[in-house]
């Protein structure tokens, strides 16, 4: 059969962010795959050299819309190490809690995207509805759904009070219930199992050889997790399990992420229980003494690496960032080898490449009226429920009440 090369991207409905792939096909079978990256390159490393360390914390937080706490923590850890700052233990615990909440929101988001990519949009709707629970908690504690602004050099900027902790523990209980249900779905729902099994296969040997990280590696039986292997923040004092799986495919990656959600709930409960009292930050000097440090962080997608070199001024000499997707994208070629074209979206999505989610307010333009109205989230939710009742004869009111009661 004649070979056909088709370009996918940089803008393509199957992709959630700009990347460009050239796929060589024989019929529907993928013969070769090559990727061109860099469409999102914003010159942040260079920009960091031109700004102060404190400004960089905010800039670095914006590398990613999902792993924002990941990047800011990874960066401040390096700076704190160079400046030999003794970060208060309470701050380390708070960083850990926020980091795990971020992992929960990321993994639930992923589960929805994965569902969507395989035509299981009910899963998307369910997981993204549940993800609102963790987003609300993050907004409650930090003031933002993403880009939390929690970190500063020398600690964190906001403390957790009793009310935060109460709502957080309640949210964790709710989400744990929901996750157990998703695990049951993943273990019992045949269509999902059949659709994800033996798709995007990456053997253990290839995962190791190609430098896969995070859930992508762990689903190929690579027992690595920076939180355990190179502990930072409060992880060295907490008890948790590194979840691995040996399915070596998209199904395995799904199970690993679900297992990690359960571990995240455990970590948050422990961190809250053992959280020491005391200050949440110490003052950091504006000028950081000359030196260098390498900081590693287990992001939801895998290991994030920051290298910082200081030259004694208030601006870094060099900031180097290696986000996990760069490591994982190199495995995609192997995963797609001899695969079907129709599997491409889910295989790419299964490494969970990063895309941004942002604002909570929605601008509605009324037809015939020129003014813009802001709509509150609760009103939008009620409007949605009403619409389905009127137009589709489905009543979500009871389910909505049940969810609201749980959160009260």
């Amino acid at each position: 059969m004649r070979k056909v090369v088709i370009p996918i991207g940089p803008q393509h409905p199957a992709l959630k962010e700009p990347e460009s792939f050239n796929v060589t096909l024989s019929g529907e079978r993928i013969m070769a795959f090559s990727a061109r990256l860099g469409y999102n390159h914003r010159g942040i490393e260079k920009a960091c050299e031109e700004r102060t360390y404190l400004q960089d914390v905010y800039l670095i937080e914006r590398i990613c819309g999902i792993c924002s706490h990941t990047h800011s923590t990874c960066f401040v850890q390096a700076v704190e190490e160079i400046a030999a700052l003794e970060v208060p233990r309470r701050a380390l615990y708070i960083r850990t809690v926020i980091g795990e909440l971020e992992r929960i929101h990321s993994h639930l988001l992923w589960l929805g995207v994965a569902g969507h990519e395989v035509g299981f949009d009910t899963l998307l709707m369910y997981t993204w509805r549940d993800r609102e629970v963790v987003m609300d908690i993050l907004a409650d504690v930090t003031g933002n759904r993403v880009n939390y602004g929690m970190n500063t050099i020398g600690g964190v900027r906001r403390d957790l009070d009793a009310a935060h902790i109460k709502s957080m523990l309640k949210a964790v209980d709710t989400l744990e219930d929901r996750t157990k249900y998703y695990i049951q779905v993943a273990r019992e729902e045949r269509t999902l199992i059949e659709r994800l099994s033996k798709v995007g296969t990456l053997t253990h040997e290839d995962a190791v050889k190609l430098g896969a990280v995070g859930p992508t590696a762990r689903a190929s039986g690579v027992d690595r997790d920076t939180r355990r292997d190179d502990p930072y923040a409060a992880y060295g004092e907490l008890d948790f399990k590194v979840v691995t799986d040996d399915h070596n495919d998209v199904y395995g990656r799904t199970l690993v992420r679900m297992g990690e959600l359960m571990e995240s709930y455990k970590i948050i409960r422990q961190a809250i229980k053992n959280m020491p009292d005391g200050p949440i930050a110490i003052k950091s000097p504006r000028r950081i003494p000359a030196g260098e440090a390498l900081s590693r962080y287990e992001a939801p997608r895998g290991e994030d690496v920051h290298y910082v070199k200081a030259n004694g001024t208030d601006r870094p000499e060099r900031v180097k960032v290696r986000a996990p997707t760069l490591a994982n994208l190199q495995t995609v070629e192997k995963m797609l080898e001899d695969g079907q074209l129709a599997d491409l979206p889910i295989v790419i999505a299964a490494i969970d490449p990063c895309f941004s989610c942002t604002d909570r307010s929605i601008v509605v333009r009324r037809s015939g009226v020129r003014s813009k109205n802001m709509i509150r989230w609760e009103d939008l939710r009620s409007r949605g429920i009403e619409w389905y009742r009127e137009n589709r004869g489905i009543d979500f009111a009871k389910l909505n009440r049940k969810l609201s009661d749980r959160m009260r």
């Binding site: 061109r36 260079k46 390498l294 060099r318 180097k320 994208l329 190199q330």
Partner: protein, 165 residues
Amino acid sequence: MTEAIVGATAKEEAIRQKLVERFPFLADKVRATRPRRIFALVEAKDFENVLVFAIQELGFTILCTITGLDDGPTLGFVYHITRQDGITLNIQYDVPKENPVINTVTKYFPPAEIYERELIDLLGARVEGLGEGVRYPLPDDWPAGEYPLRKDWKKKISDTEAENA
């Protein structure tokens, strides 16, 4: 105990000693800065030998990334390699900026390719032994000889930006 090994534990000290034993010229060039972090500065000519020793004898089989540095007259390259127990060895070597040639490490670490392509685009490194491939991360029409991570590189203002300034 010298200042260089303050904060290190026995494990890092053992690695430091093995490195110095095998490569005596590294005696004052290896520092364990804290538990699980070792930094080594080597000559360009010795780099590959040290790297191979670290991989084969010391178990540093995972490459985190490669950092490129513009240190004025030289370009520095730091190879961040790690192992299962979290100990990370950062090996740096420098080459003159007017002839910034380094050898590829893809034969030891296949995933190094993308990190090396980044060094080519952003710092103007010339990587010997790295075959043809897709550039990363700059656009295809990026002007030749412009390396944005070099210290003397300044952003050019476009005509539109100049008009709006």
